[in-house]
């Protein structure tokens, strides 16, 4: 008997009391979604900004290595998406479109289509996500309802920049992944 059969038959040999799978109510906490989303992103050390605020920041910083997969900011790209993710090593900025955001925790949903390369939002030094302000959901329940049938090889709820508190519980932004997250609400 191989291990698969061994494990499954060990489980099946037990007489376990049946337990029904509970239904999940559609919990929702009404309120101003933009306000709550903005607060959530700021709590997880990201920043929500307007289009003009973003443009001001971007032009002042003078980046030279920029990939933009966002249709709204395609003219800002200085590089096209490479084939090999290892070529992202010195990338300064990635600009991506997010599908939707969740107000209760700032999580933004991204799939292979938006990412181009799965390594992109992690390997880049600064991450910018462009999000339609109409595309905000209240809680994770509405979020998963939205993607219930979606089928992407990879999907990501991203809520902030890379962070750690592993040294004496001091919060440090920019552990291994992106050092900053800016969400441009349009």
């Amino acid at each position: 008997m191989n291990s698969r059969e061994k494990i499954l038959s060990a489980i099946r040999s037990l007489t376990l009391e049946p337990k029904t799978l509970p239904d999940i109510p559609n919990f929702s906490n009404p309120g101003n979604l933009v306000e709550r989303f903005t607060q959530s992103i700021s709590d997880s050390k990201g920043e929500v900004m307007t289009k003009s605020e973003f443009e001001a920041w971007f032009s002042a910083a003078g980046f030279s290595k920029v990939i933009s997969l966002s249709s709204r900011f395609s003219e800002l790209a200085t590089l096209s998406l490479p084939e090999d993710p290892h070529d992202l090593e010195s990338l300064e900025v990635a600009i991506l479109d997010g599908q939707f955001g969740v107000a209760e925790n700032g999580a933004i949903w991204l799939e292979d289509t938006e990412l181009g390369l799965r390594a992109l939002p992690f390997a880049t030094e600064h991450l910018v996500i462009v999000l339609d302000r109409k595309m905000l959901e209240d809680t994770m329940h509405q979020g998963y309802e939205k993607i219930a049938a979606a089928h992407s090889g990879f999907g990501l709820f991203l809520a902030g920049p890379s962070k750690t508190a592993d040294i004496e519980q001091s919060l440090v932004i920019g552990a291994q992944g992106a050092k900053s997250l800016r969400v441009v609400l349009v």
């Binding site: 090593e89 962070k163 592993d166």
Partner: protein
């Protein structure tokens, strides 16, 4: 070494153990604050508990459903009955790739299987990429906490360690500076690795996908740059439906660190073109625990660590005192199932105050199971000193006269007996505890005088 012996060691550094206690309590407090912001918090715990109960009652069919869907998506599914088989499977995949250096993100399961020493013996370099885990790996230590692996260390120790290993400035203890040094070091490893290993937070039967949560983004840095991703998953990590993730992701980070969600929550459904995803489904004692009626529900654990942060014993004894991969209250009910003899002191490392049960996001009755394990332990080992005193007490409580006489004898004896006799080594309860002053009279005498 027993838990009390190890705890005594930890408490020698009074300042550090105080910091440890206060810091974990601060995390517990953050959990309280953030959970209060969710009106349906208690309902979510109830739901999570109910979903996990259903999973455990139907585990075999969910595992088959998961395997079927994952395979359909192009994920290669393996099964491992125990840690040896798990380690061998990982090694075989690495050898097939001619891989001699691997990056690994946080996985309690691979700690449980002692994967690192096994691979290192085969000449493979393993780099733990979670910052806290990299720190303890440099020190040849296991993590002392499942969410905060290096919580037992002060920044001065990490500064010294990084000076030695990463050539940082001597004496520079700035966490930002030290984290930046680790970032440079780890990114070099990420960009050089062909294979990346991760744990799994949740596996979804309905879709065959699995979810990995981190704040540092280290799991994703590893797997998206590597050609091959090996995910190691305990068989109890299954959830039936994709929408169940909403419940669990709302609970996990809030319970763990008091943040509303981890910054990266990655859903792996199929590999990128020309890449491979392997998932290893591991038993290693889980089906045995499933067979134990009283302890089955310990398998509902989602490894948030909330029970550790709240536990008055864990906070004051440190993770290493448990000498178990998963320390703290949950570890003390999981580990005896793996090796009762080795872990026999763990069910006693608790005041049974029940705080662990109160904060558990999946409502495991941890303190009741600790009590149950105590019964199992005492069945197998007879404590001579306690046995004798219990027999003596039994005789005294049977006879009202004996009770009256012994009560008055004890009140006088406690006043006059030398401390060496009262705090005798056989009386472990006398360690670091002082008896209150004995009362002048018995309750009966007091009642006779004071009754209306």
């Amino acid at each position: 070494m027993t838990h009390p012996e190890n705890a005594a060691e930890f408490l020698k550094d009074a300042q550090k153990s105080k910091w440890h206690d206060e810091t974990l309590w601060f995390v517990r407090d953050k959990r309280d604050k953030v959970s209060k912001g969710i009106p349906e918090w208690e309902q979510l715990r109830e739901l999570a508990s109910g979903i996990k109960d259903n999973v455990l009652a139907n585990l075999a069919s969910y595992l088959e459903e998961f395997e079927r869907n994952a395979t359909k998506n192009g994920i290669i599914v393996h099964w491992a009955a125990d840690s040896e088989e798990h380690n061998r499977l990982v090694l075989e995949i690495l050898q097939k790739q001619n891989c001699t250096a691997v990056v690994k993100s946080k996985s309690i399961l691979t700690e449980e299987c002692h994967l690192n020493p096994y691979l290192e013996k085969q000449g493979i370099e393993v780099v733990d990429t979670d910052l806290g885990e990299r720190i303890v790996q440099f020190l040849n230590q296991p993590p002392s906490h499942i969410v905060l692996p290096a919580i037992h260390l002060k920044k001065s120790e990490i500064s010294e360690l990084f000076h030695e290993k990463l050539h940082t400035e001597k004496g520079n203890e700035d966490p930002v500076y030290l984290t930046q040094a680790a970032r440079v070091h780890l990114r070099e490893k990420f960009f050089g690795a062909k294979v990346a290993i991760t744990g799994v937070n949740f596996g979804i039967a309905e879709t065959g996908e699995f979810v990995v949560c981190t704040n540092e983004g280290n799991a994703d840095m590893g797997v998206h740059l590597a050609d091959v991703h090996i995910a190691c998953m305990g068989i109890e990590k299954i959830l039936p439906r994709r929408k169940d993730l909403a419940v669990f992701l709302r609970l996990l980070a809030r319970s763990a660190t008091g943040q509303p969600i981890t910054n990266y929550n990655s859903h792996f459904r199929s590999p990128s073109p020309a890449k491979e995803i392997h998932i290893i489904l591991v038993d290693n004692g889980r089906t045995a625990q499933l067979a134990r009626d009283k302890f089955r529900s310990s398998l509902k654990c989602i490894r948030c660590g909330a029970c550790m942060n709240t536990c008055p014993i864990y906070r004051r004894s440190g993770g290493f005192s448990y000498n178990s991969t998963v320390p703290g209250p949950i570890g003390s009910i999981l580990s005896p199932g793996l090796d009762l003899k080795k872990h026999s002191s763990l069910p006693f490392a608790s005041t049974l105050c029940g705080s662990c049960t109160d904060v558990c996001p999946v409502k495991i009755n941890i303190h009741e199971q600790l009590y149950e394990w105590r019964q199992e332990v005492t069945k197998t080992q007879d404590d001579f000193a306690k046995g004798l005193s219990m027999k003596l007490a039994n005789g005294i409580f049977k006879s009202p006269l004996a009770y009256k006489i012994s009560g008055s004898l004890m009140r006088n004896a406690l006043k006059s007996l030398p401390n060496s006799l009262i705090y005798h080594p056989l009386n472990v309860w006398g360690k670091n505890r002082n008896l209150p002053d004995p009362p002048k009279e018995s309750f009966q005498q007091w009642y006779q005088k004071n009754r209306l």
